[in-house]
């Protein structure tokens, strides 16, 4: 029966527009870093979970297998789980069930993405996420789904563009303090700066979009007895949730991410949380596009439908809020970078560091006991949620 699972260490590489390292090398650097933080040798690891988004980025078929030696998986059980953009946060859920079930005691989780290999532009890899029979022939591109969803969300709730721009302002500022932030993406921006950046797919402006990034992140998790033996400041995985909606995305009302709500409910139930607005103290929602953070905060039931933007205007989600819930204190994908799977795991690592009180300049002001990281993926379809606590 369910065993308690805790975190022993985490590692990360710099986030870069283009890395010299191969994907395997990035995976190694992050994995080695996590093992060092956990004070462990690779021989102590029972299994390896690998997480990485479409093979079309790195340009390798069976990408999980290819990365495995760099992820420390030689002659070990390893598995790659895949839920598109939700993969990074899912990777810790994957590790959780392999350990919680009693199958293994200690698990190394490695998330990697090298998007820059993909030509003529990494965005091209997203063309093939659409239905091959009746969508791809239209000459689709990635921005379509996001801009269509953002438009629906804005129109239904009458949200001004300025408010959505505020997400980018907040996260890009928070990102300034993150040690692995990608060069040139974080900074002190104003709402006007965001809205004056070129429109790429109205209502999406360039500065509302997370960048193309290479990078990797890793984590070591273990069963309760191992965690208690190795650390006096344990951080536990309290709840996990994941949910996938229909692939017929044009058959859904895009204004609300029901899949995130279902995933969140599953995680809250597991963690015994009745009132998430009181019991979640810090949150890292997925923000590949600025509106997505608000959209997801509503799906996580941390704000009523259509209310997340209003709370944003009041500073409820700010890092130094005293009675709100700090959202994306790391800087998120907009402020740190978006190496898809690695970015998801970076968000989990941020909650881990915040709970340990080791987030440095990014440490939130209010007292925290519990935090949540969430990612999203596929065709506006997947929600993955993990709740960590002291």
């Amino acid at each position: 029966m369910a065993r308690k699972v805790g975190i022993l260490g985490a590692g990360i590489t710099k986030f870069m527009r283009r890395a010299k390292e191969t994907g395997k090398e990035l995976a190694f650097e992050a994995a080695k870093h996590a093992l060092e933080e956990a004070g462990m040798d690779i021989n102590e690891i029972d299994c390896v979970v690998i997480s990485t988004a479409p093979d079309a980025f790195d340009g390798v078929h069976m990408k999980g297998d290819w990365l495995s030696d760099g992820a420390g998986a030689k002659k070990k059980p390893f598995m790659r789980s895949f839920v598109g953009g939700g993969s990074g946060v899912f990777s810790i859920i994957h590790g959780w069930y392999l350990v919680s079930s009693g199958f293994f005691d200690k698990c190394l989780i490695v998330a990697e993405e090298k998007m820059s290999s993909c030509m003529p532009h990494p965005q091209g890899a997203f063309n093939s996420i659409y239905d091959q029979f009746i969508e791809r022939p239209l000459g689709v591109n990635l921005l379509w789904i996001f801009s269509l969803e953002m438009m629906r969300y804005m129109k239904v709730h009458k949200i001004p563009l300025e408010t959505i721009a505020l997400v980018a302002v907040k996260n890009k500022k928070n990102g300034l303090d993150h040690p692995c932030t990608q060069k040139g993406i974080s900074g002190e921006y104003t709402v006007n700066d965001i809205l004056n950046s070129e429109i790429i797919a109205y209502p999406v402006h360039r500065l509302m979009v997370s960048p193309v990034t290479d990078g990797a992140a890793a984590m070591v998790i273990a069963a309760e007895h191992e965690v208690k033996r190795r650390t006096d400041k344990p951080i536990w995985i309290e709840g996990v949730g994941f949910c996938l909606d229909t692939s017929y995305w044009t058959n859904r009302d895009l204004y609300y991410p029901k899949y995130v709500e279902y995933a969140a409910r599953m995680a809250y139930e597991m963690a015994g949380i009745k009132d998430p607005r009181k019991e979640i103290h810090v949150v890292e929602p997925y923000d590949p596009f600025a509106y997505k953070e608000l959209h997801h905060l509503e799906g996580l039931l941390l704000a009523d439908k259509g209310e997340a933007p209003k709370l944003l205007e009041k500073g409820f989600w700010d890092r130094d809020t005293e009675n709100g819930i700090p959202s994306s204190p790391s800087g998120g994908l907009l402020g740190v970078g978006n190496p898809i799977a690695a970015a998801g795991l970076m968000r989990v690592i941020e909650i881990y560091l915040q709970l340990k009180g080791e987030a440095g300049k990014r440490q939130v002001k209010r007292e925290i006991k519990r935090g949540l990281a969430q990612a999203w993926g596929d065709l506006m379809q997947v929600g993955t949620v993990v709740i960590l606590s002291k």
Partner: protein
């Protein structure tokens, strides 16, 4: 709390499945599985599908999983590995105690990929191996050479695998590639990558397979056909081909875990029959040895003595393996598992063994990987 296979459905392997889309094919397998398990998908707590993007021609194939399984707005995820590795996920999820019923789906639409060499080439290391621009079947040829050489076997030894499995398939009747073929005929077939010949390669096929897995509480409501998952394991060696020396170490890793979970000390004695990956002829021998179902260097002799025949002491690939049923890619493990359950249930028709109780199923992810998984099943009730 034990875990059981309580239902299964298959869209039968065939060379082409052009009348159905992948969704329709999977739907067929799914409704059969739900009927077999006597459940509705709304009662299922978790779903796992196995796929690889480049094989589907779709990035993030996970997107296209839920509908045909009845899994809309349910916890679903993809594992990029062979079906048996996906089974480990379901098993673990149920073992956490948070879920009661899980569904595993695997399928193959290999017929939709028009040039498999280029697909496999994409799996090669882009820095050191792929730029040689050699047809990727050379890896199977090279590995076969290493394996035969290290054991002192010859090509004819491997050809016996083809002969046995195609014959089993013919006896079984359902398998699309069953035929009578002598080991010598395999040897005289067209060379692909010496020592690998055309007939050493299992033919590509399409199909879909769905399993319903449940915890003890749910399973015990079934009076008959209780198939318990006794042990599982999965493992990898290294993707760097320069490091390979002809052993299937991934299955050594996987079986070590599975045997220890199942409490099996002497597999040759304790396993009644096995369904083992034979995507290439030599793979069956290589895998038998990695699984300790023979001593190293003795599998070929045992094979020729009939030890692994239908009427032998440890029948291997009773319904014809991949040689007889086709190479279904990530579904290979699922097809093997399906046939193993048929045997345990006593539903294997012409190839039915006498009252088998314990089965081993072992899969390999396929070219150019070095990873695989093992499952041990036991009939109860």
């Amino acid at each position: 709390m034990n875990v059981y296979i309580v239902g299964m459905g298959i869209s039968l392997p065939k060379k082409s499945s052009s009348e159905f889309s992948f969704r329709e094919m999977i739907y067929e397998a799914a409704i059969k599985a739900y009927k077999d398990a006597n459940i509705e998908p709304k009662n299922v707590d978790i779903f796992v599908s196995v796929s690889e993007d480049f094989e589907e021609g779709t990035s993030i194939f996970d997107e296209y999983v839920p509908d045909q399984l009845g899994a809309v707005l349910k916890p679903v995820h993809t594992i990029c590995a062979d079906a048996l590795t996906g089974l480990v996920s379901i098993y673990s999820l149920i073992k956490t105690g948070h879920f009661k019923i899980g569904v595993l789906e695997a399928h193959s639409k290999l017929s939709n990929v028009k040039n498999h060499s280029h697909l496999f080439a994409m799996g090669l290391d882009p820095v050191y191996i792929r730029p040689l621009e050699v047809n990727p079947y050379f890896i199977a040829g090279l590995e076969m050479a290493m394996f035969l050489d290290s054991r002192g076997y010859d090509e004819l030894d491997a050809a016996f695998v083809v002969s046995k499995n195609k014959s089993n398939a013919l006896t079984f009747g359902r398998s699309p590639f069953g035929t009578t073929i002598t080991p010598e005929e395999v040897l005289f077939s067209e060379p692909v990558s010496e020592p690998l010949k055309r007939l050493d390669i299992s033919p590509n096929a399409d199909g879909a397979c769905v399993f319903v897995i449940a915890n003890e509480e749910v399973a015990k409501e079934r009076k008959k056909d209780l198939i318990r998952i006794l042990g599982l394991g999965f493992g990898g060696f290294t993707p760097n081909i320069e490091m390979w020396r002809g052993d299937a170490e991934y299955l050594e890793v996987a079986s070590k875990k599975a045997y220890s979970m199942a409490g099996i000390k002497n597999p040759i004695k304790e396993i009644d029959f096995a369904e083992i990956d034979d995507t290439f002829s030599y793979k069956e021998l290589q895998h038998i040895e990695a699984l300790s179902l023979s001593r190293v260097g003795e599998s070929a002799e045992l094979l020729k003595e009939g030890f692994y025949d239908l009427d032998g002491e440890l029948p291997v690939n009773t319904t014809g393996g991949n040689m007889g049923n086709g190479n279904l890619s990530l579904m290979n493990g699922a097809r093997s598992l399906y046939d193993a359950v048929l045997q345990l249930r006593g539903h294997a028709g012409n190839v039915q063994l006498l009252d088998p109780e314990t089965a081993l199923v072992a899969s390999w992810k396929g070219l150019p990987s070095a990873s695989g998984a093992v499952v041990i099943l036991k009939r109860e009730g």
